[in-house]
């Protein structure tokens, strides 16, 4: 379990994390979604004691990170897969962590097996690793101490589609076994596939939160018909609100079944009838990304 309360981190005049409160529950994958520079990484660094908070509190398993005894055995952390010494071999990187946590060398070989790194790859220096291999190594490092909590910053970066699928099912199963997973991404569909709960962060603030079902619930119904005059009349008389979409269809604020029944009763032919896209989350996310892109262009 991870909890933050009114977490604030300022850099001079700039507020990177503004009054962020959330809980990541055990048994669930919590996705931290936001455009680049929204404050995801800063929040994760504060959670792991690497960056001091300006105010507010952050606890993991009920304690501030710095008070955990042998934290690697409680919390697996992967914040930047490329933050490793390029002159060290992959296996050696894992050995260092194992020795720090007091784990035997055979755990290192086991972890390489788990993430699918061969012994031969383990003998190569990190300078020759692809980003995907570094992510696997980082994940092995995070999982090594058999932690109950995982904090992962953009873990899918650099993985190929099969790798992403592999990681998704690994983290899903890990959560099913009772683990807490907090992972970040700047890609909506990635979070959509992997997370049970979603936190959306923009400009340092949480702008939306909820279960995936709540946030991605279909929004109304999209319907298309060759005789839209009849349908719009029927919709109006049934008291259903609708808007005409750009491609000649209608977006109706009602369930698809209701719209279908209404169309059948009025003998209207339909060429399309489906649940509406969740404009809300996607649009909000696009707006966040766009405003961020503007700032970047201005800078």
């Amino acid at each position: 379990m991870i909890t933050t309360q009114n977490l604030v981190r300022r850099y001079g005049d700039f507020t990177a994390v503004n009054n962020v409160s959330f809980t990541a529950e055990p048994g669930r994958v919590t996705g931290f979604l936001g455009p680049n520079g929204a404050g995801k990484s800063t929040t994760m660094r504060v959670l792991t004691g690497l960056t001091p908070a300006t105010s507010g509190s952050a606890t993991v398993l009920g304690k501030p990170f710095k008070e955990l005894v042998n934290p690697g055995r409680h919390v697996g952390v992967l914040l930047d897969a490329s933050a490793q010494h390029n002159g060290r071999t992959g296996r050696e990187v894992l050995m260092i962590s194992a020795k720090t946590m007091g784990l035997p060398a055979k755990r290192v070989d086991h972890m390489m097996d788990v993430v699918g790194l061969t012994q031969k790859e383990g003998k190569r220096r990190l300078g020759n690793y692809s980003l995907g291999m570094r992510q696997r190594l980082g994940l092995a490092n995070a999982l090594m101490g058999d932690p109950r909590v995982l904090i992962l910053d953009e873990p899918a970066n650099g993985l190929d589609p099969a790798g992403i699928r592999w990681m998704r099912s690994l983290l899903g199963s890990y959560a099913d076994q009772g683990g807490t997973v907090l992972l970040s991404s700047h890609l909506l569909n990635e979070i959509e596939r992997i997370a049970d709960d979603i936190l959306v962060i923009g400009n340092g603030e949480i702008v939306a939160r909820g279960t995936k079902e709540e946030l991605l619930r279909p929004n109304g119904t999209v319907v298309k018909t060759p005789n839209s005059d009849v349908l719009t009349e029927a919709l109006t008389s049934a008291g259903l609100a609708f808007t005409v979409t750009g491609d000649g269809g209608l977006h109706v604020e009602a369930e698809p079944t209701d719209v279908g029944v209404l169309a059948a009763n009025n003998r209207v032919v339909l060429s399309e009838l489906r649940p509406g896209d969740n404009q809300g989350l996607e649009e909000m996310f696009l707006n966040l990304t766009a405003s961020n892109a503007r700032t970047e262009a201005a800078a």
């Binding site: 690497l50 720090t100 099912s169």
Partner: protein, 279 residues
């Protein structure tokens, strides 16, 4: 059918991986003893390419200097040309400058290579990690000098045989103790420069340039010469490796300049490392 199997394979592998994680029992969770951190810091200094090249450079310089010493007669005192102390002295001189780089790299690499993110996530009490770095590089420096000291004896014997003189294994206590003291100061200096500057190239250049620059200032501005002689650590440790007991004033200069260049930067370095955001 086959396509379905291949797309399902990674997901299946992921589930298996998660199941495998739960199979092993890692035993009870114990606090991290300082000896573990010490052992890890030892490893980190010797397991990278730069660490290994440094050791190779140390070995190469020792080999070259000892080989040259075997075949070259020093003019001052021919009887001393191939003594144990001559081999020890000749080899230790250049290594006294090179070996402290190990301490500099140990102190800076976490920040240069960004490994601090992993290190301090496993041990958030950063001061313990820094102490482990200082102590482990200190021990490595002393260990290498001990190795040179021991190696110098058989080399001296070979030199004596090649040149047909009687072996001279007489030990000059002040020379041996002085080199060990100078190495101790230099390793701590390396740690201090690394800790306070947190950047390997900057720390290495400063380590070599800054004290020399001070010597130069003292040389050019004669009114400052006395003052500089008290803060120039490079000059102040020289009496240690002359094979004679330093005078009281020399001891005082060693103490004063060491405090200035070791204690102050190490304290500053600790403070910076505690405060610095890791990213």
């Amino acid at each position: 059918m086959s396509t379905q199997t291949s797309t399902e394979a990674p997901a299946e592998a992921g589930r298996e991986a998660a199941a495998e994680l739960k199979q092993s029992d890692l035993g009870p969770i114990k606090p991290i003893p300082f000896t573990s951190l010490l052992g890890v810091e030892f490893r980190k200094q010797l397991d990278t390419r730069s660490g290994q090249w440094l050791l190779i450079a140390v070995a190469a310089i020792a080999a070259i200097v000892m080989a040259v010493t075997i075949f070259v007669e020093t003019g001052i005192d021919p009887a001393q040309s191939w003594s144990w102390m001559t081999f020890f002295n000749n080899t230790s001189q250049p290594l006294l400058a090179l070996i402290p780089i190990i301490a500099i790299l140990a102190a800076t690499s976490e920040w240069s290579a960004k490994t601090a993110m992993t290190t301090f996530a496993l041990e958030p009490r950063r001061a313990r990690v820094i102490w482990a770095k200082i102590i482990s590089s200190f021990v490595i420096g002393m260990g290498l000098l001990t190795f040179i000291f021991l190696l110098a004896a058989p080399m001296s014997w070979i030199g004596s045989m090649v040149n047909g003189v009687d072996p001279n294994f007489e030990i000059n206590n002040w020379l041996v103790m002085g080199f060990f003291a100078a190495m101790a100061i230099s390793m701590l200096l390396g740690s201090a420069f690394g800790l306070v500057l947190m950047n390997a190239p900057v720390a290495i250049v400063s380590y070599f340039i800054l004290p020399t620059l001070l010597t130069l200032v003292g040389f050019l501005i004669t009114s400052l010469a006395t003052f500089m002689s008290w803060i120039d650590v490079n000059a102040s440790i020289l009496p240690l490796i002359m094979g004679m007991e330093p005078t009281t004033e020399e001891w005082q200069k060693i103490a004063v300049s060491s405090v200035i260049w070791i204690v102050v930067p190490i304290a500053l370095g600790f403070w910076r490392s505690m405060k610095r955001e890791v990213k």
